[in-house]
Symmetry: none
Subunit: 210 residues, 4 copies
DNA sequence: TATGAATGAGTGTTCATTCAT
DNA sequence: AATGAATGAACACTCATTCAT
């Protein structure tokens, strides 16, 4: 017996399309600047579906944010840093962080938006806290191994180190527009990007050097 | 008998009040999130005056941004770093940058907003470009003196260094909300702030060390 | 049992109500004088619907204008003047034009508004151009038949004639207020209206007389 | 004794500049569309002066209107039609009316605006009523002389005649924009203007012909 | 006579959200 | 599951007018 309407089953696809459109719009325009109409149109979905699946614009923002953070945390785990020598592991992490920001520019503006709203939208995400703990432990383990092997100096706070690794890439990229104007450089030129990555690896290596 | 300045109906004072209110609102809510009505009310000014003096919400945003940047550039000049020993000068700059961000939290979110809008509002500010050139030259001069004295290694790009100095403070503070959640720390606790500043000074010193 | 048309939530009906209200308001107060709020209220519609269906106040004005012109052009076609003797056809047209202006006073002020705005809102209406061509051809055909029958003199430009037929009715009615003041007459008294129509028919007949 | 402040005496000049600017703006945009700010700027006058001299925007409109009407009435008197043969006098009047409309295009849109507002702004102008009476009498006298000389037919109402003389010129010019679109002609081309004037003279002459 | 500063009530337009089907 | 219609509150911006000097 042939099924009647194979139209259904789109629920997940519709949700995914909404989420992708929302991510793009929130990243591009911020929470206040993004428009529900525009998100619906870009998702080829009816506006009503957004409310059906996500409840409200803010709730949708919250889901987008959580997904974005879980994505980077999950990608970091796949780096398998525990199987690399400490120095290699650290350099890999610096490179990965930089590349991830470059490949996922929405991540940066989403995080900025989240903080403009004082982190309110992530407050209750236990999944995120768990993933973060795991991530910090990974960095700590690299540091510990490096100290044991005598290549890293002791006493480095893995959280501080990690903030710095993120900072030196993130800041350069998020402020690439005003930076380009103030310093009269094209921050996104291929050569400039390469130089910055080198500078950052150097910075981190000198920082942990025994 | 010299008359005092006839202060009532003072255009300059009104403009200044509008500017201050706008700075606060744009910093708090972003360009899209800020409300002209609210700015007017906080400035104890009539909404019409905003349009009279600044033309539009975006034009007002532009002025706020430019003023904010000029302010930090001007404060940096007052540090008189050329009269300090190179290492002291650099540490002073790192400390100043950190303190400025702490004392002027609006600066950070304003810069974020400027970049969310792709730097569009600063594109034509020659005043800013001039001030920035002067600032970069100041950092370059510190580096040169340090190299000459044998305390800094040669070949450091002053722009890269400066970006890093800004980054390691800026990122910590702008992302203090999500950071606090992910890393389960109070980023703004007095002790945490002190530790971060120490970490940053250390980072920069190791970076330039001969 | 056939269900009646589900009339509630009827987009067409809402559009029609908006159009009718807009016609009335634009006619009464002009494009600048009419208020979108008032149009919405008179249409028992939400203001948002006006923008949903018509885009903007000016676009709405454009649609109102085009509809108004198409309406008179369509009514003229229904006169079936080609089946009347040339003199009867012409008199019928003069009477119709006069009656149409009397019955549709909004038409006159709408046309005035259109011209105050330099015709900008009708520039791209191909429908209107088509209807106008058909109309001019109808008048031309009446003239031609009259000349062939020897009752009209030859060489009359149908466009000039038509402008005159419109003018002598239109001017009297559109300027009835200042006219009433200047000439100290009630232009809209039944007797005055009859006299003017007679005068106009006479004017046109003498103009085309062989 | 030397006069103190020779700055004064500008009062009349200021009023005149305001009046000229107001005429232009009201003609161009209508009563609702014209802006007090714009009028002040075009008059190189302070906005406050408009209120000082004229009381309100509507009062200013009233003065502009009255002046405009008095101007055409006064120009008509200067034609000295009583010294021309009846047919010449009539043709002169038709030509003058046409030329006046062409040379003073603001007059037409001002009259349209006056009537959009139902003549309200002219209701109490006794000066205008007086000038109008004189004008009607002039036309009546031409007709009477023509009848006496046997060149005009009797029984023509001077008011109706005058309305028609105005109408056939006024309508063509006020509706030149929509007319140009509908009839696909350039109503303002030199040749077109000449043809229309000829057509109008012909119309009037046939109308009064004995 | 003249003026720049200031204002309150609007004015077209947009928004996130809900209703009815 | 999905949709087009509808809404009310808000939004950026404007206006004619008055105040203070």
């Amino acid at each position: 017996m042939p099924r009647k309407k194979p139209r259904a089953r789109d629920a997940d696809a519709t949700k995914a399309r909404i989420l992708a459109a929302a991510k793009s719009e929130f990243a591009r325009l911020g929470l206040a600047g993004a428009r529900v109409d525009e998100i619906a149109e870009k998702a080829s979905a009816n506006k009503r579906m957004i409310y059906h699946y996500f409840g409200s614009k803010e709730d949708l923002f919250q889901v987008v944010l959580e997904e974005a953070y879980l994505d980077i945390r999950s990608a970091e785990q796949e780096l398998d840093l525990d199987h690399l020598a400490p120095r290699d592991a650290l350099e890999t992490l610096v490179r990965f962080t930089w590349d991830y920001y470059l490949d996922n520019p929405e991540f940066i503006t989403l995080v900025n938006s989240a903080n403009l709203h004082r982190g309110r939208h992530l407050e209750n995400s236990e999944r995120l806290r768990t993933a973060s703990r795991r991530f910090v432990n990974m960095v700590r383990s690299i540091l510990d191994r490096g100290v044991a092997e005598g290549v890293f100096r002791p006493g480095i706070d893995p959280v501080q180190l990690n903030i710095t690794i993120a900072a030196i890439g993130y800041y350069y990229l998020t402020n690439r527009f005003t930076g380009g104007i103030l310093f009269e450089r094209n921050f996104m030129a291929k050569k400039a990007l390469g130089q910055r990555l080198d500078f950052n690896i150097d910075t981190v290596m000198r920082l942990v050097q025994a």
